[in-house]
Symmetry: C4
Subunit: 286 residues, 4 copies
């Protein structure tokens, strides 16, 4: 028990460090484009930064924590019965801390650039706004409901594709390809679902840097902006993650031609049985 706890703690600490690295790279890419006013990058380079941040976050932590960099993913693994529920809040806390520290490192590295670009005034909106470097804010056109729909759809897509990439029944990938595919997935979502509110997808990764900017000088505007936007990227990803997990589990994984336990056993009855057992397993969790 003591050992399990320590291991869980150590794993989630790992997750925190990986989260810090992910934020350092992802927010760094945004800082570079924003403070250089587009001379040192473009929208595409920012998305590539987010994607590559996830790739190397996974590479740094895959041996230890199995690369859980998003608490929505941790929740999904719990729903699917692949890890105990205790790990979920541990990861959440550790990600929050890691994301906070990552934001602090970006501010340290871009201190001169942010000071010059913003004229020393750290603001959330306007032409010299710099808060968008660290966490998500909605575009002007977006309603709160639109933001919720956007995040539910995007996180559901994230979970469906991650589960498909991880699914050994779909064929075993060469070691090292999965992290790259997850990065490609983040890029995908950034390129196709990024203009509404910057695809936060990850509650702790959004809240941690928001807390940092709140403390570091951007003030309470980080919570007030966008009509009190801050809670949407915390709540909606869980809804989307749950939806994505259910869609994958009920509509895709169940239909797989599964390896029969004994020859001849392969029949419609067996498949139906498995379908029922999966549904009842999922219902228990909800």
């Amino acid at each position: 028990m003591g050992w399990t706890c320590r291991l869980a703690g150590s794993c989630s600490l790992e997750g925190g460090r990986a989260e810090q690295l992910m934020v350092l790279i992802g927010s760094g890419a945004a800082a570079q484009v924003i403070t250089s006013q587009g001379t040192h990058g473009s929208y595409l380079t920012m998305q590539l930064g987010s994607a590559l941040g996830a790739v190397f976050g996974i590479f740094v932590s895959r041996g230890v924590s199995g690369a859980q960099l998003n608490v929505v993913w941790s929740m999904s693994l719990w729903i699917l019965g692949r890890q105990p529920w205790r790990k979920v809040p541990l990861y959440a806390l550790s990600h929050l801390l890691g994301a906070f520290l990552g934001a602090a490192t970006v501010y340290l590295q871009y201190y001169d650039a942010i000071q010059v670009f913003s004229g020393g005034h750290l603001s959330v909106a306007g032409p010299n706004a710099t808060a968008g470097i660290f966490c998500s804010y909605p575009a002007d056109h977006l309603s709160v409901w639109g933001g919720i729909v956007d995040q539910v759809v995007a996180t559901a897509l994230l979970l469906i594709c991650c589960l498909a990439v991880e699914d050994r029944r779909q064929g075993l990938l060469p070691d090292g390809l999965a992290p790259v595919l997850v990065g490609a997935l983040i890029l995908t979502i950034g390129l196709s679902m990024g203009s509404n509110c910057g695809f936060p997808l990850n509650p702790a990764r959004d809240l941690g840097p928001r807390l940092f900017t709140f403390i570091a000088g951007w003030g309470e505007e980080v919570f007030k902006a966008g009509g009190g936007w801050w809670w949407v990227p915390i709540v909606a990803p869980f809804v989307g993650g749950l939806l994505g997990t259910l869609i994958y589990e009920l509509l895709i994984e169940v239909h797989h031609p599964h390896t029969p336990q004994s020859p001849g056993q392969e029949s419609e009855a067996v498949e139906l049985e498995e379908f029922k057992s999966r549904i009842s397993h999922l219902l228990e969790k909800l």
Copy 2:
């Protein structure tokens, strides 16, 4: 028989869901660039979106349906004797439904953005046109014959390269690389054959979203635009797919140094025999 039917139905249903995901990502990338007026992407990011949509569509469905996301590919596999003809219309219907639902999901996710960008007027042409998010329209310079040639060439290229990537005689790829290569192929066609009419390549993927826009408020202009363009991306890809399959089969696969059945049997006579048998096999299908 009952089992086979159910399995075929389930597989094509899978294909439909993968199609929905592919349209959600691909059209989402277009929606992002168009409604943000290029601030959140570029022509390249749209093509990357289409390519990555195909990659993850394949990853989600490869375990079940063998990742048939284009009815032209299904037709080609039938011509080559790798699946019964009954599967082709099943896939066509399921893709049509999936593409329709994918377009609906994009509209849901970009509802606010499309309303603001278009000023509430859903139009097919003009500076605030939004129909191009969902399906293909020809460029001003393109004649109908030019469009047919473009689609025949592009789909033939698609089939030749897909058959080459899948061809085990050309060497076995690591599991997971083939979907990435198909994505790279979609990107290739988007970058080198996309400016004439947006490389539809896929009848159901073009018609499904067109039907959605017809119903959702863009009206009958979606069928009238481009001099009644809508039928070209349905018919021409089949012609191109047939052409590409024949080219690959007759000019490339036949020339492979094939493994001889018994030592010494390797002779010109054997190769000629195989060439004849392949041709007669293909002629039966036509």
Copy 3:
């Protein structure tokens, strides 16, 4: 003997078809950017097109001809004693034909676009020039000697890196990775050595489309332009290819820690012996 000849002919025919595909994709990407005046692509998408054209050209032909898509590479394999010299002119002719047909296919596919963009006047220079879609022309700043140096350096780099990627002593790559790396190499050269004269690198791939444009209406200006530039991309790549092969062979491959034939035999004397034998082998060819 008859069989060998036929096989060689068939292989080089394959190479020709792969060359056609490579030109179709590469020149298509240029046609798209030029005729759309940059709205459907950028310098980067053109280079990606060239790179991806090479990737799929290799995938289509790797099973048959071992993917020889550049006669400079064929020459290098002959110098290294890996194929008879007879194959080199066969490949050259077949590549020339393939590149000619590839250019014709691009012209067919972009006929409408080229007519509208050029106002029906097919020209080599000026704001509506379209000859650059098909083959290389030097930038205004480039002297003939500068062009020769550029092509010698670029082709030497191409050969050194291709030999390194193919070199089994450097470790065996997963099947399918090598073609992708060759594509990445073409992209690399396009991004770092493309602004002087468009990195032709490949004599037949440059001359074939030049002959096509000569016949198809651009006229003798295709040979006169750039101070009679046309011969540079034919001659210089052979010089660069020879240089690259020698550099790799003498300075890199020889230094590899080679597997000793018998234990204890591994000594400086053996290494010196191998070095001498390689040099004398190379001198024979020159």
Copy 4:
């Protein structure tokens, strides 16, 4: 002993040649964008050039020197006890020479372009500055302390991620993937930490080309510019590399679930023991 010395010399010579190739590609990509005034590339293509230069530098040398292209990496391998300290200065000298020759090759290849762009006046600052092609200079907004922080953070990130990619405990990558990942890492740092001072990261790669430009006509301004910037990219990467090695070693690698020597031996005591032994090992080196 004599053999070891020769081998070490040969390896570091290899490293030098790989370094030359890396600079040739990386600085070539910068030369192309700068002298074409952005018509033949963008900020992204420059970063891709740097990344691909590293990839092919590694492919060319991986069989011989194990691809040590940065003396900071050589230092880190020594700290971790994976190579003797004698190799570090050998690599440093050989990299310096290689980077110098790489810069010379770029100047040769872009001689015409640089002459025309700069009007024949080789300058370090101003609108026609060309010194930035070859080595790093700080942005106007950057203080010396900011530059040190930037380079310490960036090199620490480089080392952490390289150690993670190389770490066999984290799972064995397919041969050939590691060089591509290192390239992706260089791209990552270029996109997220490149706007402050162009991410030198590599003392010899920065100093070698600086010495070349000093001699070739840019004069002593290359050492005076940026308030005597030149020593920062030499000193700071060593600090960052040391920091990154320590972070990886103490905070990540130690926590790996290691293979127990005998069943049952796996206990907290064993882990603590390993942690202590690693720390004392590291302290010895410092």
